[in-house]
């Protein structure tokens, strides 16, 4: 008659049945995805659109408040696509009521609290920001062109800024898994 069946044949049979089942599954699973190449495209999109958002915000009420709204909107939408975004921006705005004064705004969308150190020529101030928060400091008696230095975490930027124009510095990092793009927008 029949000899004793070995247990390993039943284990093999179970594994084969599982393999057949899961080999057929991907053909029936709906997947919505984007390729990793989209990260540079999105970075390019925002490199043009963030300065434009600042211009529209300044036209609206003379402050970069709506730039913060736009940054938060982008980050929320990107999180829904498993694309991480970190952003910190600094905006220098001439004080319309006090010629010679500059108000410098900072907005933090890094996802964590941060201290932003600002130096205008030789005057120094610090702004402590929670995530999704903006604040500002005013600098008095600033020359028509001044040197603005920005430092936060382990990043530093320094450049010449015209006092009577709105100036923008934006740090942005887009990431998904091991892929990331880091951008600094100066405007």
């Amino acid at each position: 008659m029949y000899g004793k069946r070995k247990g390993q044949f039943f284990i093999l049979g179970a594994l084969l049945l599982c393999a057949v089942f899961f080999a057929a599954m991907p053909a029936h699973m709906a997947v919505t995805g984007g390729y990793a190449v989209d990260i540079p495209r999105v970075a390019g999109n925002l490199e043009g659109e963030i300065p434009h958002a600042l211009n529209l915000a300044m036209l609206d009420d003379g402050s970069p408040g709506k730039l913060g709204d736009f940054t938060g909107f982008i980050r929320d939408e990107m999180n829904g696509r498993y694309l991480g975004m970190e952003s910190l921006w600094v905006v220098a705005v001439p004080d319309q009521d006090s010629p010679g004064d500059v108000r410098i705004y900072a907005g933090n969308w890094l996802g964590r609290p941060v201290t932003v150190h600002l130096i205008v020529d030789s005057a120094a101030e610090s702004i402590v920001l929670d995530d999704s928060e903006t604040d500002s400091k005013i600098f008095h008696g600033v020359g028509s062109d001044f040197t603005l230095s920005i430092s936060f975490e382990n990043r530093t930027w320094s450049g010449q800024v015209a006092r009577d124009k709105t100036g923008l510095y934006n740090y942005m990092r887009l990431s998904r898994g091991d892929d990331s793009v880091v951008n600094e927008i100066i405007g």
Partner: protein, 121 residues
């Protein structure tokens, strides 16, 4: 007979375990590395040519869809404002590729996200 029962138990246990893991991982998948077709440049190209913003800020989803031709593929467009107010449809299809393009506004602050969905015909 007992061996067959053990085999079925092992199959069911494997199905339950792996099915649970797949349920956790569903919804989004990184698809390959370099794609045969790269759709991510379509919306930026339309924006550069000045063919995007007019449709977006007037809410003209159909007009924007008509600007895009993709032989061998179907596509749809969705225009979304903050707080999830969207016009246009998300397709009910398998293996849909999606690209997003952000706009801050035209003459005034009017943030919009434009989504392009592409799938095989």
């Amino acid at each position: 007979m007992r061996g067959y029962v053990f085999m079925l138990e092992a199959v069911f246990a494997g199905l339950v375990l792996i099915g649970f893991l797949l349920y956790l991982a569903q919804g989004y998948a990184r698809v390959g590395t370099v794609p045969e077709h790269d759709f991510s440049g379509i919306l930026p190209a339309l924006d550069q040519e000045g063919l995007l913003r007019g449709h977006v800020f007037s809410g003209d989803v159909q007009g924007l869809q008509d600007e895009i031709t993709l032989p061998g593929f179907q596509h749809s467009v969705q225009i979304c404002a903050p707080a999830g107010a969207c016009t246009g449809q998300v397709p009910d299809a398998d293996n849909v590729w999606v690209s997003a393009h952000f706009l801050a506004g035209d003459d005034s602050y009017q943030p919009r996200e434009v989504n392009l969905y592409v799938w095989e015909a």
